[in-house]
């Protein structure tokens, strides 16, 4: 019954639109071309979306270079790199990026001297010593550390860690690089430990088994076999930690005092490249003044610095990659 209905329906269309083979083929070709056009259009739209990242990078470089050029027209590059004072808002203005660089370096050093040893130990422990269950519980808890907004760490550094440190060392000023650096370091631990641990777990079991077969203990295997084999991954974890430390803003803006200070002593307040940008953005600087232009020059210095570390990371990864 159904079959006959279908047949008659087909017959009806056949009779109402007389179609020989070539017309049918042409119809096919048309739909196919249409479909192809639509597919091309969709691909173009998707490509455009993927290119947004390229536009972003281009935009960043364009804006920073354009505004910095205006700045460097007034302040020669050599002065910018060698001057030992940073007083852009005074009438006797000095622009020595070294001063801000010193703050960035000393705070990063404090942070890294905490994050790198602790992060590495935690990674070795989680990857080689901890049982499956311990790892599944502790790793997510540790990763919460990197999920807390940095402004809250700033609050914590200023109002909890600094008073605590002042109990040990009473002469410590209320704003100092030390407490900001310590808190920053603890924040960076999960970045270092997660990536290092992933690298260590990717080391093939056979290497460990070989080491155990030679009578090595867990600790010996971890230090002498697993860590060297995973070194390229561990190195990129360190690099990531460094660029986090260099680019960190709010903890330093809140707890380190924003006072330009050419010194690496972490017991003093200091301004970093990032916290200077915040300081200028907080005040209302007119668009086009030299003060406004300085933040772009500072931003460009920061971008160049992080770019250097990224390149170093690429190089380390390639240089020390182990292929199994």
């Amino acid at each position: 019954m159904r079959m006959s209905q279908t047949t008659t329906a087909t017959d009806a269309t056949m009779s109402s639109v007389p179609m020989d083979g070539s017309a049918k083929l042409a119809e096919y070709a048309r739909t196919k071309a249409q479909r192809k056009r639509r597919e091309r259009a969709i691909e173009m739209v998707l490509l455009l979306a993927a290119c947004v990242s390229v536009f972003t990078t281009a935009g960043i470089v364009y804006i920073l270079v354009k505004e910095s050029l205006v700045f460097f027209a007034e302040v020669p590059l050599w002065t910018f790199l060698t001057d030992t004072q940073w007083t852009p808002l005074f009438s006797d203005a000095h622009f020595g990026i070294m001063v801000l660089m010193a703050g960035t370096v000393s705070s990063s050093l404090v942070a890294l001297s905490i994050a790198i040893p602790l992060g590495t130990i935690i990674a070795i422990y989680l990857s080689e010593f901890a049982g499956h269950k311990t790892r599944e519980i502790l790793k997510p808890i540790l990763e919460l550390l990197s999920g807390v907004p940095t402004i809250i760490y700033g609050y914590f550094a200023l109002l909890f860690v600094t008073p605590l440190l002042q109990k040990i060392y009473p002469d410590l000023p209320g704003f100092n690089v030390l407490s900001a650096g310590i808190v920053m370091g603890i924040m960076i631990i999960p970045y270092v430990s997660s990536l290092s641990e992933d690298a260590m777990r990717a080391v093939p079991m056979s290497l460990r088994e070989g080491s155990y077969a030679m009578g090595a203990t867990r600790f010996q295997t971890a230090v002498n076999v697993v860590v060297p084999a995973a070194f390229s991954g561990i190195a990129s974890a360190y690099i990531l930690g460094i660029s986090r430390a260099v680019g960190e803003t709010m903890i330093l803006a809140v707890a380190a005092g924003m006072q330009p200070n050419l010194s690496l002593n972490p017991l003093e307040p200091a301004a970093t490249i990032t916290s200077y940008i915040v300081q200028v953005a907080l005040g209302d600087l007119p668009h086009g003044s030299v003060g406004y232009q300085t933040i772009f020059a500072a931003g460009l210095s920061l971008l160049v610095l992080t770019l250097c570390f990224n390149l170093l990371g690429h190089w380390l990864r390639r240089r020390f990659r182990e292929v199994y």
Binding site: L46, G59, G147, I189, M250, A281, L302
Partner: protein, 305 residues
């Protein structure tokens, strides 16, 4: 002493190092975890007394006891809305292109390198980009729209990377089956790959947004005001009636900026407000993270290839 005893002593000595390292590892872990605990306890002790209904429904004020976070949380939610609307389609489209369409050529390599590098650019640089581009070149002002777009660019690499991972985990035979039935490339993506990768995409979007909601530096850099005692205009209300999109161009404040503002005041009673607002913000971010972890766990369990 015979040789066996010597050997036993040697083994015992080396085994002791295993134990010592086990203890050191736990100590190192506890530094991180204790900090987290101290942070929460400190925040809770200082902040919880200030948490009341009024705190959520009042504007910031010069008197600490009357100040609230109304304009901050409304601002945060509106900015997140703009961020999500901009970042989600762009990120998914970019990821689909790179994973399903891209041929191995120079352009693809350039895009890939760009995404990796952008993930490592400090967030304050995005603020400078937004200041130069959105605020002064496009003339969008220091508005919700500017902030939302800035944060969208910031989280784009996160959304793209997680979406790509989700797409990559779909086995090849799903694609082959669809092609064998005569599906076009877009039909394969739209009917099969996107629905199957939804859990992964959703997780990435939530993690990206939880990062964006806590970002302070880029929003300060675009010059957002810190004292806002009004809400953005609600569409079609007020006198004269606000347009449907007027709120996009309204000045605003967000939770992290409000916290920064209160923390940097010398008066300790404002620090209490900062603690209370931090408590709310942490609750928002960690809540989003927990949701992402739960979603990943829930939805992954149902998929068996």
């Amino acid at each position: 002493m015979n040789r066996t005893d010597e050997l036993r002593a040697l083994i015992r000595k080396h085994k002791r190092w295993d134990m010592i390292f086990g203890v050191v590892g736990l100590l190192a872990l506890s530094v991180g975890i204790l900090t987290l605990v101290a942070l929460f306890v400190d925040m809770a002790v200082a902040g919880i007394p200030r948490l009341s209904g009024d705190f959520f429904t009042s504007f910031p004020s010069r008197r600490a006891a009357q100040a609230g976070i109304l304009s901050a949380w409304v601002g945060s939610i509106l900015v997140m809305l703009v961020t999500a609307i901009a970042a989600v389609p762009l990120g998914i489209a970019g990821a689909v292109y790179l994973e399903e369409y891209a041929r191995k050529n120079l352009l693809t390599d350039i895009i890939e390198i760009n995404i990796t590098n952008l993930a490592g650019v400090p967030s304050i640089i995005y603020g400078l980009l937004a200041l130069g581009l959105f605020v002064y070149t496009f003339g969008l002002g220091q508005s919700i729209l500017t902030a939302g777009l800035t944060l969208a660019l910031l989280i784009l690499p996160i959304v793209i990377t997680t979406t790509r991972e989700a797409l990559r985990s779909i086995p090849q035979h799903v694609r082959e089956a669809a092609y064998a039935c005569g599906a076009s490339k877009w039909q394969v993506v739209n009917h099969h790959l996107l629905p199957y990768s939804l859990p992964g995409i959703l997780t990435g979007v939530i993690i990206g947004l939880s990062r964006a909601i806590g970002e302070t530096a880029p929003i300060i850099t675009i010059g957002a005001l810190t004292f806002i005692a009004f809400l953005p205009p609600v569409p079609f209300t007020g006198e004269p009636a606000a347009g449907a999109f007027d709120w996009l161009f309204s000045p605003f404040t967000v939770m992290p900026i409000q916290i920064f503002n209160w923390t940097s005041r010398p008066d300790p009673s404002f620090h209490q407000n900062a603690a209370a607002a931090s408590f709310v913000l942490v609750f928002m971010t960690l809540g989003m993270n927990a949701l992402a972890i739960w979603l990943r766990y829930r939805l992954r369990k149902n998929i068996k290839w």
